[in-house]
């Protein structure tokens, strides 16, 4: 179902997937389709956001998300400013609210925030006039990641509705999991999740997730297999004894992929730990769409920036 011409986002901010209506999600995905082509042109630039100022405030390390937002902004002709925790006054003890208020005094239109604390984007949305885009807040949400994941699934599978999606890894600390669960459930996919019980948060079943203790059960008959990064710190936290044992129990191998449908795709939000959550041969194999996710990320973020600037369906500058 295509939204009618003129349909706009009902939100000023993108704080997460949870508050979005399914038609808003479809609007973003459809808009991203029209932006995808721009990146294939010899001159990859449109004047859509000319004169708009966007601040990228990254209080946590990021390669993919940050460069993806920057490229999206450049291709839309927006002026952007990049600040990271090491280059901001946070190192001098300035609070997040003060940093944001000072940036606001320079009249940006949007602030893209990556922050290690869940709810940090909500905090900014309360005190700022600009539109806030959550580029990952602690273990809470990473909405543009889920949108680009959905875009990739739709691109490869032709639909989201009815897909069997298996998500495997550190479920407890993953914002990618949460945003994907909200999005996939809203668009009618079925989600199974698997990880060591020490890394499964309570209440996932109430979110419509079928939690499987063994990875094999989660993979069985899956259309999409999404692997989540496992961080070394979690081992220190005592959630599993060694990375080697983790890979033996939950790593995605070619053999395990046989449980999934024969045409199943493999996804990963990155950064990948080869040999920890995913075998190199699977990550680089023919079923992997991991680099397509990165490509699509730019188009999806262009769509989000455009729509939050007040853009609507059918008004796109050529």
């Amino acid at each position: 179902m295509t939204p009618e011409t003129g349909f706009r986002l009902r939100h000023k901010h993108l704080l997460g997937i949870e508050p979005l209506e399914s038609e808003e999600i479809r609007l973003i995905l459809d808009t991203a389709e029209s932006f995808l082509e721009i990146s294939t042109r010899p001159i990859k630039k449109v004047p859509t956001l000319r004169g708009r100022t966007i601040v990228n405030l990254f209080m946590e390390p990021s390669t993919r998300t940050r460069s993806s937002f920057e490229i999206a902004q450049k291709r839309l002709s927006a002026d952007s400013l990049n600040l990271s925790s090491s280059s901001s006054s946070a190192t001098k003890g300035e609070s997040l609210i003060d940093t944001a208020k000072n940036l606001e005094a320079m009249a940006p239109d949007m602030i893209v925030l990556r922050h290690p604390a869940a709810g940090a984007a909500h905090l900014l949305a309360r005190v700022c006039r600009s539109s806030i885009i959550n580029a990952g807040d602690g273990a809470h949400e990473h909405p543009t990641q889920a949108l680009l994941d959905a875009f990739t699934m739709r691109q490869k599978k032709g639909r989201i509705q009815g897909l069997e999606v298996a998500i495997v890894g550190d479920l407890l600390h993953s914002r990618v999991l949460r945003s994907n669960v909200f999005l996939l459930r809203k668009l009618g996919a079925k989600v199974r999740a698997s990880g060591p019980p020490t890394l499964v948060p309570p209440g996932l079943d109430r979110l419509g997730v079928d939690v499987k203790t063994r990875i094999e059960e989660a993979l069985e008959g899956a259309d999409v297999v999404m692997m989540l990064r496992v961080q070394k710190e979690r081992m220190v936290h005592g959630a599993f004894p060694s990375l080697r044992e983790y890979f033996n129990l939950y790593g995605l191998t070619k053999a395990r992929m046989k449980q999934a449908k024969h045409d199943a795709i493999v996804m990963h939000p990155g950064p990948m730990n080869r040999g920890v959550e995913i075998a190199a041969e699977v990550a680089d194999g023919s079923t992997s769409v991991i680099l397509d996710q990165v490509t699509n990320g730019v188009a999806v973020r262009m769509a989000v920036l455009y729509l939050l600037s007040g853009g609507a369906v059918g008004e796109l500058a050529a």
């Binding site: 609070s95 905090l123 807040d137 273990a139 809470h140 948060p201 309570p202 996932l204």
Partner: protein, 428 residues
Amino acid sequence: MNWLLRGGRVVDPASKLDAVQDVLVKDGKIARLGVGIPADNAKVLDVSGKVVAPGFIDMHVHLREPGREDEETMETGSAAAAAGGFTSIAVMPNTDPWNDSQSITEYIVSQAKARSTVNVFPIGCISKQGKGEELAEIGDMVKSGIVAVSDDGHPVSSSHLMRMALEYTRIFDLPVIDHCEERSLSHGGVMHEGYHSTVLGLRGVPSAAEEIMVARDLILAEMTGGRIHIAHLSTKKSMELVREAKAKGIRATCEVTPHHFALTDAAVADSGYDTNTKMNPPLREEEDRLALLSGIGDGTVDAIASDHAPHTPIEKELEFDQAPFGILGLETSVALSLDRLFHAGRVDLTRLVSLYTTGPARVLNLPRGTLAIGSMADITVLDLNRVMEVSVSAFRSKCRNAPYQGWKLKGAPILTLVGGRIVFDGRS
């Protein structure tokens, strides 16, 4: 000044009294109770249609003096207490420095005498500097007036130290108040572990972190014959454990805070990460909240205590992970209880009054909490029908960190007397 409180409904659980009577206050003491007392030279306070109760006691307050006068002082804290209907507060020792020695206790007592409008009863540390390593000089502090010991804010992690404390305090018949938290389970947690912590992506504190310590403390109280008081009890299982212990004759008591019986962890989500929903122990689930209400109703709970914890806006307006735990409570406790417990039919008036008077007075061995003739004229007058809308900007406290902005509550304290002096007058 002598007063005649005329025509109020006098509710004094200690004297099993609930009747319309006059109360004569003379020279700071309760001089007479009865119908139709002549005013003579006393000034008449018309309290007809109102409830006259013994002065309310909040046994769990952080007054922040000495050391954090930017958050609360004797003046602001006692004004908040008086406006909230309290005539006595027991203050926790986690000040800077901690109240772990006679000289600090004496400082608090002398400052309170000079600058507080309500009675201040200090609680001393269990351990030196609240470090949980060796016992503080409890005997010395008792001489200067402490009414209990606690390392509140810090749990007593060492079971050996808790055993020593429960045994040693038997010399003074002093209760040991514990903030029950098994730190290896709660470490890094900022809200209750459950569905909402999962959705919000916040690190959770499981109920078991509290319950394990409650169980340990009750076992040690049984073994030692000491008196254990569980501070801010927040879970269903903790309530069951205390109920069983009391039935077995273990010397255990407990308190519940208004925020734990009025709110659940859904408030963290509904408020969009408002740090005024962050406290320790955290807001729990609905089944816990209902269990607290049952315990309040059936007598398992001895006291309602606010755990009044002032934090400045600078400290609270941070990311949820980084903000300190704790909210204000003195100015909303009684109204929340009248609205959510009394008007909701959970308790009758006598029970409600006892939770603020005889209950905490018994735990702390205070010669307070009654209107018996000859006792100190500490009096709290309630208007059961006044609807108050909470406005944090109108608080007497120095801070504003409460999650109740705009709440409409039915029932409020309107007049507070301490030793025969009016310290708060909210009539009209």
